[in-house]
Subunit: 131 residues, 2 copies
């Protein structure tokens, strides 16, 4: 699979794929006779996992850290698990913050509804000048 095809399949731009390779998130793929990258289809699994990490806003640096451990094989499983557990902790805290913020926002919106209602009430008492 060449880079254009992979790009279409995984939804990342060609530039992004090359960028990810440059920063060490993707292993350097084999090259064909003309020097073009040739990807093993198995890279899709990895890209899918990276997409998960990305969706949770894990910074690229941490993703790269993870990738480096992964490249070292099964013996780094414990370290990788720790890294993911730390990240999970952060996500759980984020979830808590998000809940709080959603509640605060709902309250604020309720207040706005009240303001709008008050204005309406006011208009009923004092009809507008142009009416």
């Amino acid at each position: 699979m060449k880079i254009g095809e992979l790009s279409k399949k995984c939804g990342l731009s060609i530039d992004t794929l090359r960028f990810y390779e440059k920063i060490g998130l993707l292993e350097k793929p084999l090259r064909d006779g003309g020097g073009h990258r040739v990807y093993d289809p198995a890279i899709m699994q990895w890209l899918g996992f990276l997409a998960r990490l990305k969706e949770t806003d894990m910074p690229l640096k941490k993703q790269v850290e993870y990738a480096k451990l992964r490249a070292m094989g099964n013996k780094t499983a414990a370290l990788r698990r720790e890294l993911l557990e730390n990240h999970l902790q952060e996500l759980l805290e984020e979830q808590k913050r998000l809940k709080d913020n959603i509640n605060a926002l709902k309250t604020k919106i309720t207040i706005y509804r009240q303001i709008e209602k008050d204005i309406d009430d006011d208009n009923q008492h004092k009809p507008q000048p142009n009416s």
Copy 2:
């Protein structure tokens, strides 16, 4: 209240306060004889609200949009409510995504525990070379 004091009270750096003023997130404060900014303590409420929006990753552009409406008075209450309701929608979606990602991460971590266990089991059968 001068900028240094406000900075300490609200937790934003002096530079950030000036930056927020520049982009229109904070109204231009009065100045004293020497041209130094003098803030009304009421600004703390506004900064508190902005902190909420920031915590939910509302981009500064949107915050500025909100600030502009706010500066126009109560007649923009409905528009501001809409803006907040849109943002709330996004947060609810974010909450859903976060939940999914947390579950996926938990699964992944469980898999790692299994790998670690397998390695351990393996070591029991084939004691290490250096033992």
